[in-house]
């Protein structure tokens, strides 16, 4: 099962390697990872989505993260009220006759065509992962050439 964890860390070189190393050393897989500075530039915020097959592994991941000296706090969003978003960028084949149909699909989600050139549209869409998944399913008929996702970011209520 996938779990979303946020980690506040010291904004120093090597911290990402410590966090990533912890996962690799224990054979835990990171599904996605997003890192950025917070309001306080000395602190970075990581949103990590992990695949943990049981509660015990999730518990260990949280404990091991907390054990790192540079980790300030760990929040598990599994049972916590929160908002989460992911941004995707897509390149989709788009003949001008298809454009209205494409825009109609995008309107249903928080998506828009940023640029359209040489019959290729670059699309951005923001949403929860379930929405993104649905969007991608609907866009399948438009021949997706490339897809990039930021990974999830999450913030507690």
């Amino acid at each position: 099962m996938k779990h979303t964890i946020s980690v506040l860390v010291e904004n120093k070189f090597g911290v990402l390697a410590r966090v990533a190393g912890l996962f690799s050393a224990r054979g835990y897989n990171i599904a996605s990872l997003a890192v950025s500075e917070t309001l306080d530039p000395s602190i970075s915020y990581m949103t990590i989505v992990v695949d943990a097959k049981d509660e015990k592994i999730l518990e260990q991941i949280k404990k091991q993260l907390n054990k790192l000296i540079d980790v300030i706090s760990v929040t598990d969003f599994t049972k916590k009220e929160h908002v989460e978003r992911e941004l995707v960028l897509l390149k989709v084949e788009c003949l001008s006759k298809d454009k209205p149909r494409l825009e109609k699909v995008l309107d249903k989600y928080v998506g828009k065509i940023i640029r359209c050139k040489d019959e290729t549209a670059i699309i951005e869409a923001v949403g929860e992962q379930a929405q993104i998944k649905q969007l991608l399913e609907e866009l399948a008929k438009f021949s997706i050439k490339e897809l990039i996702r930021t990974g999830k970011i999450a913030i507690s209520q």
Binding site: V9, G14, G21, K56, E59, N66, K67, I69, D70, I72
Partner: protein
């Protein structure tokens, strides 16, 4: 001051008196400043030995051990020693030189990404980019190494930072916002534990290295006496509770006593104190202590419920938590029947060995224990020598049995003994070694002779890598693949370095040789020619329940 001077001044402020190291291109500045300093550096013959010696010094004293090496190969040679300390939670600060900061990443001569290499085997590490940070980093390194669940911390110092001039500013305290170990047990958990203990009719205390690290032996004795529970110890916990106490069950686990393992299997409550349910202790996990509730006291939350499910976790420093429990215990434990059962188990399954024609290694350990009145500090290598030393020496004091438990590092015992002897020159320090292990750091004879570090090494010479051979005998149809190991004439080797060598081939020579070694004011190798195919028993085969012991004798 320049960076090197700041480093040395900071080490002094941290109370460092001795460090173990080896010079090289990127630590020339530091060594130059050491030349004028009151700090004593013991020059080893291999950096691995510097790390083990610092580790041994730390285990014997409880203070932070310090080692120093140059960049690249100097630093990578420390790695085994750092990993050894990490696995056993030993406070240590390893200092390495690094290539000049503007060359980092350039594949410069003797460059290695040492903070990268040591990241998974240190509690924390630092790359110092500015001499102005150095004093603070040293302060933090010592604080991190010695607090919470201790461990090694590495400080990597580029050589240009060592010459950088700046003011020396010593921070009053080390305050790290992201690092606040939990020192006292939660009062609610203490109350729950007290209730569970009061209900228990068959409790066993399972004490680990945490009791020794936390200097909680006195509290442990009082706790056991108050709740009237027998105490079994892990390899790392030996010495935390006197083995000759009637309430002691000795060591448990793979090569533990049969009575300890049987007691665990019939217990209704296990109180784990500073122990981590290692696989060498639990054997087959599902079958471990099947009818017992578990209270687990540990300073490291990640140790709790890692291997076994715990009923009452108490996170905190063992000494404090035992103190809290002692305050709350109202009435003594009602365990008289259980103690009778345990007594009967001890009588029924004593540790035994067969006297063979050749010298039994167990006899040698017993003789060392008797002759030193169990007041020596024992270090070990790894393998049969280590297990026999655990079983047959009468461990009565904490910080007196010094062994690589978690990592199981061959070549550990001899340099670790040097570290111990530097801390306690007046004590007899014995390294119990095998003929395989001793060859892994035998070059340290030179260090001992040059510095008059008069440790005694008892080589249980059976011509084999004994523990691996034992597994091959029992589980691989006696196919002794590469375990018959040729060794040199250890007496001559010792003498060649300027030490003393004694060869023992008969049982009646054992005690006189030990007595002579102790009386000799020099490093001594005793080459005991022991029974070649002697086995360590009892033994729980890997993956079995801990009461499924083989060995016949127990």
């Amino acid at each position: 001051m320049n960076g090197a001077q700041i480093l040395i001044e900071s080490l002094k402020r941290e109370g460092v008196e001795v460090l173990f190291g080896y010079p090289g291109g990127q630590v020339l500045q530091i060594f130059d400043k050491l030349y004028d300093s009151s700090l004593k550096l013991i020059l080893v013959r291999h950096e691995q030995a510097a790390a083990h010696a610092a580790d041994g010094y730390s285990r014997a004293t409880g203070k932070v051990g310090v080692c120093l090496a140059t960049s690249g190969p100097g630093a990578t040679n420390l790695v085994t020693g750092i990993a050894t300390a990490y696995m056993d939670s030993i406070p240590m600060v390893a200092i390495t030189g690094q290539v000049k900061s503007f060359l980092i990443g350039n594949d410069a001569f003797q460059e290695a990404d040492v903070t990268g290499i040591t990241r998974p085997i240190t509690k924390h590490n630092f790359l110092v980019k500015d001499a102005r940070d150095l004093a603070r980093i040293v302060r933090e390194a010592f604080y991190i190494a010695s607090s919470g669940r201790p461990g090694p911390v590495l400080i990597d110092i580029p050589s240009d930072v060592q010459v950088q001039e700046t003011d020396f500013i010593w921070p009053e305290t080390a305050d790290i916002r992201s690092y606040k170990p939990t020192l006292f047990g939660h009062p609610g958990q203490i109350k729950k534990a007290i209730k569970m203990i009061a209900k228990s009719k068959k409790p066993v205390i399972y004490a680990g290295g945490g009791v020794i690290i936390s200097n909680a032996s006195v509290e442990l004795r009082e706790f056991a006496a108050r709740i009237k529970a027998p105490v079994t110890m892990t390899l790392m916990g030996l010495g935390s509770f006197p083995m000759n106490d009637p309430m002691s069950l000795g060591m448990l686990g793979m090569h533990g006593t049969a009575y300890a393992n049987h007691a665990i299997m019939s217990a209704d409550l296990i109180i784990a104190v500073g122990a981590r349910f290692d696989d060498r202790v639990t054997g087959k996990l599902d079958a471990f202590a099947p009818s017992a509730k578990i209270i687990h006291i540990d300073i490291d939350p990640s140790s709790i419920s890692k291997n076994v499910k715990v009923d009452i976790p108490i996170v905190g420093d063992v000494k404090n938590v035992l103190g809290q429990l002692l305050e709350e215990i109202k009435k003594p434990g009602d365990t008289a029947d259980w103690l009778e059962t345990v007594k009967a188990l001890k009588k029924k399954h004593p540790l035994k060995y067969d006297g063979k024609e050749k010298i039994s290694p167990q006899y040698i350990i017993q003789a060392i224990s008797e002759i030193t009145n169990s007041q020596a500090i024992i270090t070990t290598e790894v393998g049969q020598n280590q297990m026999w030393a655990a079983q047959w020496y009468n461990h009565i004091h904490p910080r007196s049995f010094i062994t690589s438990g978690g990592l199981g590092t061959m070549g550990y015992g001899f340099p670790a003994a040097m570290g111990v002897k530097m801390a306690f020159p007046e004590k007899t320090v014995f390294d119990i070694a095998g003929d395989g292990s001793i060859q892994m750091n035998i070059q340290e004879l030179a260090t001992c002779v040059c510095n008059k570090i008069n440790v005694k090494v008892a080589i249980l010479n059976n011509g084999y890598l004994g523990m691996v051979r034992q597994w091959q005998e029992l589980f691989y149809k006696r196919r002794y693949s590469h375990t018959c190991i040729y060794g040199p004439d250890f007496v001559k080797v010792a003498e060649a370095y300027g030490g003393v060598g004694i060869r023992v081939t008969k049982k009646e020579e054992v005690r006189p040789a030990i007595e002579k070694a102790i009386a000799t004011d020099n490093v001594v190798f005793i080459d005991f020619q022991v029974e070649p195919e002697e086995n360590v028993f009892p033994m729980v085969p890997a993956g079995e329940a801990i009461d499924k012991m083989i060995g016949g004798l127990a």
